[in-house]
Symmetry: C2
Subunit: 202 residues, 2 copies
Amino acid sequence: MSTALTVEEAWAGLPATAQRLLVAGLETFGENGYHGTSTRAIAQRAGMSPAALYMHFPTKEDLLFEIARTGHEVHFARVRAAADAAGPDPSARVAAIVEASVLFHAEHHSLARTIQYEHPSLAPDHQRALLKIRRDTESFLADAVTEGVASGAFAPDDAPTAALALMSLAIDVARWYPSQRRRSPTQIATSYTHLALRLLRP
Amino acid sequence: MSTALTVEEAWAGLPATAQRLLVAGLETFGENGYHGTSTRAIAQRAGMSPAALYMHFPTKEDLLFEIARTGHEVHFARVRAAADAAGPDPSARVAAIVEASVLFHAEHHSLARTIQYEHPSLAPDHQRALLKIRRDTESFLADAVTEGVASGAFAPDDAPTAALALMSLAIDVARWYPSQRRRSPTQIATSYTHLALRLLRP
């Protein structure tokens, strides 16, 4: 399980040309969508030929998958690191997980949108690999909620549904952030952490 | 303000050829994304020539905007109708609004995804027109939350943020629905309505 906390860190071991292509893909997919981006445009932005791109990524879909996989893993790694740092108290753990997820989706809204919206463009086995990371992340949050139910700190009707809703809330930040009317990622994370604990309390 | 509760109803007054093009656009954008769909493919699905398409919609962007505008208006009309049917009690009104919004986003997830994900592909004035409907819808929910604060039924830290979060929760259903692990639209709506009232209670 990857522990890299940024995509740059996750890609640091790759050849410099592959790193440039991934960053170029991330930017162009974010600007024009996956279907609106040609491999030629990605190669051009990376300052390379289309042939050089194919050496690292046989298809445009492979490049999208590598970006999406890394994004999912970095998000999950941040969530785990935040929960570890919060210690054993279930309220502190849930608050830390929601905060880390909201911050990720606000700060990396372009990456997060590409990951979520282009999911149907991926091959079925690639979709399954990503869904596994999503389920693991959601289960990690659901476990923290269940610990809070056991300790008496929380009393949701149904812990998995509450976990789904809290993750959903964090993910949807990427859709509307940035907004003229809303505040900094930190302020949104603070508000949403309060809402999460209000929703879970007995 | 449109009161149509389905896109078909909203389009019923248009020429039959325009209706066929809108339905064809809705389907092909849902399957291949806006950038992955040519006007030729839309015309073909509607059983028409590209020239016939341009008579009704000068650009592909005009067709997307008409679909997105109608989707936003139908969603808002359903939310208002549900609140009206619920009567004056703020808890009943908020529950009805959340239920109507969740049901819309589950049942019409393909339309809802197109509306949300392709928003950046629209011209700036078209984006502004849609943002106005979104703000009006969110304000309508925020007003119901504020009424509940006044009556003592609710006590969120901040009514507009709670309304944003509840709308966000409903909209995000379109991203993950249908899911192998999750239930019918009605069951999701019931769960999320409970969560909404839990979040708002004093």
